[in-house]
C-alpha cells in the first residue's frame, strides 16, 4: 500500500512537469509555426508584419522575385534585400506583404547549454503540397562553435534534428523568439545527408548587428581588423605571449591601417572584444565577425601590467570606398540570370532609362556578343554610352545604355 502510494505520488509529480513542458511546446509551436516560410528547397522565417524574412544565402542566392510560400500555401514573391555569402544569411522582403504572422528575434547571448529549443523547417521537402512545416524539438548542445566555409564562426549547436530542407529556418526558444537561423549539419556519412544530432545555427545577435547593413541592401561583408597580425597566446615560438587561453597576441601592426590608427602595439594581448572574453584565435575571429564591416568595436588589451581599451574601425575605409565606387559605376539597376534573361529593373536606374524590361534576353553590346554577366560587366566603362541588343517577344530591340559615373566621395 505504501509502495503504491509512493509510486503514484512520484508519477503525479513527474506528470505535472511533463504537462508543463507539453503546454509550453504547444504554445510555442502555435506562435511560431505560422511565421515559417517555405523558401525554394529550403526554409525561411518572417520577422516583421510587412514581410521581412531571413533565410540562408545558400538557399536564396541573390535572385529577385523567387516564389515562396507560407504555411497553408499562401504564395509570395521574395526579393533579396541584403546578403552575406560568407556568413550564409540573406534578408529578403516578401512583395506586397502586410499583416503577416512573424517571429521576433531573441537574444542568443542569453542562451544556456541544455535549454530547450525547437526548429521549424521543411526537411526532405516533406511539407510540400500540404504546406505544413516540420517541428523538431531539442536542446542547445553548445555555443560559439567555429567552422569555416561558409563562415559559421559563432554558431549555436543543437540536437533539435535539422536535415536538408531545414536550412534557413529558425531555431526558437520556448518563449517563441528566433535565436538562430539553422543552416548546417554534421551528416552521418559523407554522402548520406541525414542529421546526426549535430546542427548549427547562425546566432540572432549577429544577425541583429548586420540588420542595418542588410536593410541598406546588397552584399554585406564581415567585420575584420585590418592592419594587425595576431598569434595564439602561448605559442612556443614567441616570448612573452602568455598562456594558451589568455587571448590572442598582436605580432605586427601596420600604422597606416585601422589597427595601427586604433593604437594596437606589437606584444598586446587582446582578451576582450565588446565585452566578450577572447580565449583563442578562432573565438577572436568569431566575435569580431559578429559585426559587419564599417562598424566600430571596443577592444581590451593587456600591455605589460596595464589594461587598455582601444576603439577600432572594422575593415579598411580605403578599400570600402574603392569597392563602393566600383559597384556604383556598374550599378545599372538590373542583372541577368545565367541564361542572360533580365530580371527586375529598378525604377529610375540606368537600366530603366535605357528601356530594359524584365524578360528581355541580352545578347549583344555594341555589336559584340555577350554570353555572361561577367563578360558584359567587363565591357562597361563609367560614363560610356553603349548599345544593348535584346530579344523581346521574338524580335531584336536596340537600347541605348548610359553607364553611370561613380558618385563623388561622401
Amino acid at each position: 500500500m505504501t509502495l503504491a502510494l509512493a509510486l503514484s505520488l512520484l508519477l503525479g509529480q513527474e506528470a505535472d512537469k511533463v504537462q508543463d513542458l507539453q503546454a509550453q511546446l504547444h504554445a510555442v509551436v502555435e506562435k511560431v509555426s505560422p511565421a515559417y516560410v517555405f523558401f525554394g528547397n529550403g526554409s525561411g522565417v518572417c520577422i516583421s508584419s510587412d514581410g521581412y524574412a531571413l533565410t540562408n544565402f545558400h538557399v536564396s542566392g541573390d535572385r529577385q522575385g523567387q516564389r515562396v510560400r507560407m504555411p497553408g500555401g499562401r504564395q509570395f514573391l521574395a526579393d533579396i534585400v541584403g546578403f552575406d555569402p560568407l556568413g550564409d544569411i540573406s534578408l529578403c522582403k516578401l512583395r506586397d506583404a502586410k499583416d503577416l504572422p512573424f517571429c521576433e528575434l531573441g537574444d542568443s547571448d542569453a542562451l544556456e547549454m541544455g535549454q530547450h529549443v525547437i526548429a521549424v523547417g521543411n526537411p526532405f521537402l516533406l511539407g510540400n503540397g500540404s504546406w505544413e512545416p516540420t517541428i523538431t524539438f531539442g536542446i542547445v548542445s553548445a555555443l560559439h562553435r567555429y567552422m569555416d566555409n561558409p563562415g559559421y564562426f559563432d554558431a549555436i549547436q543543437t540536437d533539435a534534428q535539422i536535415n536538408p530542407g531545414n536550412s534557413g529556418g529558425p531555431l526558437i526558444t520556448m518563449d517563441g523568439k528566433v535565436v538562430g537561423i539553422n543552416g548546417r549539419i554534421d551528416i552521418k556519412r559523407f554522402t548520406n545527408r541525414v542529421n546526426t544530432g549535430i546542427g548549427y545555427a547562425i546566432p540572432s545577435r549577429q544577425i541583429q548587428r548586420y540588420m542595418e547593413a542588410f536593410k541598406r541592401g546588397g552584399r554585406v561583408f564581415e567585420g575584420f581588423i585590418e592592419g594587425i597580425q595576431i598569434g595564439e597566446c602561448g605559442d612556443g615560438r614567441y616570448d612573452n605571449v602568455g598562456e594558451y587561453g589568455d587571448g590572442v597576441f598582436v605580432s605586427r601592426v601596420d600604422a597606416e591601417l585601422p589597427g595601427g590608427k586604433a593604437g594596437f602595439e606589437p606584444g598586446d594581448i587582446i582578451f576582450e572584444v565588446e565585452g566578450y572574453r577572447i580565449s583563442n584565435a578562432n573565438r577572436f575571429h568569431g566575435v569580431v565577425s559578429n559585426w559587419p564591416e564599417g562598424s566600430t568595436v571596443h577592444v581590451k588589451v593587456r600591455r605589460k601590467a596595464e589594461e587598455k581599451e582601444l576603439k577600432v574601425f572594422l575593415g579598411d575605409p580605403a578599400k570600402i570606398l574603392e569597392r563602393k565606387r566600383a559597384m556604383d559605376a556598374t550599378d545599372l539597376g538590373f542583372t541577368v540570370n545565367a541564361k542572360m534573361v533580365v530580371g527586375p529593373v529598378a525604377p529610375g536606374s540606368a537600366g530603366a532609362k535605357a528601356g530594359l524590361k524584365p524578360g528581355d534576353v541580352l545578347f549583344r553590346v555594341n555589336e559584340r556578343r555577350v554570353g555572361s554577366w561577367t563578360e558584359f560587366r567587363a565591357l562597361l566603362r563609367p560614363g560610356a554610352e553603349m548599345t544593348l541588343t535584346v530579344t523581346r517577344d521574338g524580335k531584336d530591340v536596340e537600347l541605348p545604355l548610359k553607364v553611370p559615373r561613380p558618385k563623388t566621395d561622401e
Binding site: 509502495l3 509510486l7 512520484l10 508519477l11 513527474e14 506528470a15 511533463v18 513542458l21 507539453q22 511546446l25 504547444h26 510555442v28 509551436v29 502555435e30 525554394g40 528547397n41 529550403g42 540562408n56 544565402f57 545558400h58 538557399v59 542566392g61 523567387q66 516564389r67 525547437i118 526537411p123 526532405f124 521537402l125 516533406l126 510540400n128 503540397g129 500540404s130 512545416p133 516540420t134 517541428i135 523538431t136 524539438f137 531539442g138 533539435a160 534534428q161 535539422i162 536535415n163 536538408p164 530542407g165 536550412s167 534557413g168 552521418k188 556519412r189 554522402t191 548520406n192 545527408r193 541525414v194 542529421n195 544530432g197 540570370n337 545565367a338 541564361k339 554570353g371 555572361s372 561577367t374
Partner: protein, 334 residues
C-alpha cells in the same frame, strides 16, 4: 514490485520523463511484439543505388528482430510491410509476445504505399492499446515510440514530438522520435499510452535514413480503413508516379533552378545523361525554380512519355545550357 519502485526512483532523478516513460514501458509495452523473419530471398532489404549504395552497412536490412503491435485482441498483429517483405520460409515468421512466448505468425495483407502489413497469430484476448483522440493531437505533442528490438524481452522507448500531422497524403504523422529499422512496426503513443499510429517507412530507399529525426507512423484511421482488405490477404500496391531520379539540393547561388546533389543509379535521369551538380532549369518548356515547380511541370506527363529537360552545367567556360531527352519511368512513392 519493490524492485520496480527502486528502479523507478533510481532512474528518475530530476528527469521529468523517467517515471512516465517507465510506466509506458510497463503498460503499453505489453501490446508491443518482436517479429523475426527467416527468408530465402530479400531483394528489398538491400539498398539500391546512388550515393547510398556506398553505405550498405547503414542501409541494408540488419539481422535480428523488428517490432510489431497487437492491433486486435483476436491475434491480429500490425507491423511495417518492409519488416515482412522478401521470401519468407515456411513457418519462418515468428512473433514474440510480452511474456516471452514465441508463436508462428501468418502474413495476411500488405499495403506498399503506407508500408504496413497484417500478421495473424493463433492467440486470443491479447492486450490492445487505447486509441488517441486525434482532435487533441497537435504539432508539438509529446510522443513515445516503443519497440522490441534488438532484444525481444525488453521494450525500447524513444521520446519525441509530433513534427507534423499530415504527411504522405495524410496517411501518416511525422515525428522526431528517433526511428531505426528495429523501431519500424512499433507503436507511436501519447504520454498517456494511447495509440497514434504504427511506425513505418524507415527502409533502404528512403532519403531520410534512420534516426535522422524524421520518422513516420501510419494513422490508426488509415489502418482501420484498410483492415478488412488486409485481413483478406490483399497485397495493395502503390500507384506509380513518373519520376526522374534526382535528389534536389537547397539551392544554387549562381543559377536559378533545381540543384542536383545526387542522380540515382539506373534512373531515367542517369540514362539521359544528367549529372550530379547540374542545375535543372526547364522541363518540357516549363521553367523550373524549385522542387515544387518540378512537380507541377511533371503533372501533365505520363510514365513512358519522352520530355525535354534543360540543365545548366558548369564547365571551363562557365555555365552552359544543355538539353536532354528523358523517358519518364514509374516509381512507387510514399
Amino acid at each position: 514490485m519493490s524492485l520496480l519502485l527502486a528502479c523507478l526512483l533510481a532512474a528518475t532523478g530530476d528527469d521529468p520523463f523517467a517515471a512516465t516513460l517507465a510506466k509506458l514501458r510497463q503498460t503499453a509495452g505489453k501490446s508491443v511484439v518482436a517479429i523475426e523473419v527467416e527468408r530465402d530471398s530479400d531483394p528489398e532489404g538491400v539498398t539500391g543505388s546512388g550515393a547510398v549504395a556506398q553505405h550498405r552497412d547503414y542501409y541494408n536490412r540488419p539481422k535480428g528482430p523488428t517490432s510489431g503491435l497487437i492491433y486486435e485482441a483476436g491475434g491480429f498483429i500490425l507491423t511495417s510491410r518492409f519488416n515482412v517483405s522478401g521470401g519468407i520460409r515456411k513457418n519462418g515468421l515468428k512473433v514474440t509476445l510480452w511474456d516471452g512466448r514465441q508463436v508462428v505468425g501468418e502474413l495476411l495483407g500488405t499495403d506498399e504505399q503506407r508500408d504496413i502489413a497484417l500478421v495473424r497469430i493463433a492467440e486470443t484476448e491479447l492486450p490492445v492499446l487505447p486509441r488517441a483522440d486525434y482532435g487533441k493531437l497537435r504539432q508539438g505533442t509529446l510522443v513515445a515510440l516503443l519497440g522490441r528490438s534488438p532484444n525481444p524481452g525488453q521494450v525500447t522507448v524513444n521520446l519525441g514530438i509530433l513534427s507534423a500531422l499530415n504527411r504522405m497524403t495524410k496517411a501518416s504523422v511525422q515525428t522526431d522520435a528517433e526511428m531505426n529499422y528495429g523501431n519500424a512496426g512499433g507503436p507511436l503513443i501519447t504520454m498517456s499510452g494511447e495509440l497514434i499510429g504504427v511506425a513505418c517507412n524507415i527502409k533502404p530507399d528512403r532519403v531520410w535514413g534512420q534516426s535522422g529525426g524524421v520518422g513516420f507512423a501510419c494513422k490508426t484511421a488509415e489502418i482501420d480503413g484498410l483492415l478488412e482488405r488486409l485481413k483478406k490477404g490483399e497485397r495493395i500496391e502503390a500507384p506509380k508516379q513518373p519520376f526522374l531520379g534526382i535528389r534536389p539540393g537547397e539551392g544554387n547561388p549562381d543559377v536559378e533552378g533545381i540543384q542536383i546533389v545526387d542522380v540515382l543509379k539506373d534512373s531515367p535521369a542517369e540514362k539521359a545523361g544528367i549529372k550530379k551538380e547540374d542545375v535543372l532549369v526547364e522541363l518540357a518548356g516549363v521553367k523550373l525554380t524549385d522542387f515544387e515547380s518540378l512537380k507541377e511541370a511533371m503533372e501533365p506527363h505520363k510514365i513512358g512519355e519522352e520530355v525535354t529537360l534543360k540543365v545548366m552545367r558548369k564547365g571551363k567556360d562557365g555555365w552552359q545550357e544543355k538539353a536532354f531527352t528523358i523517358k519518364l519511368e514509374g516509381m512507387a512513392e510514399p
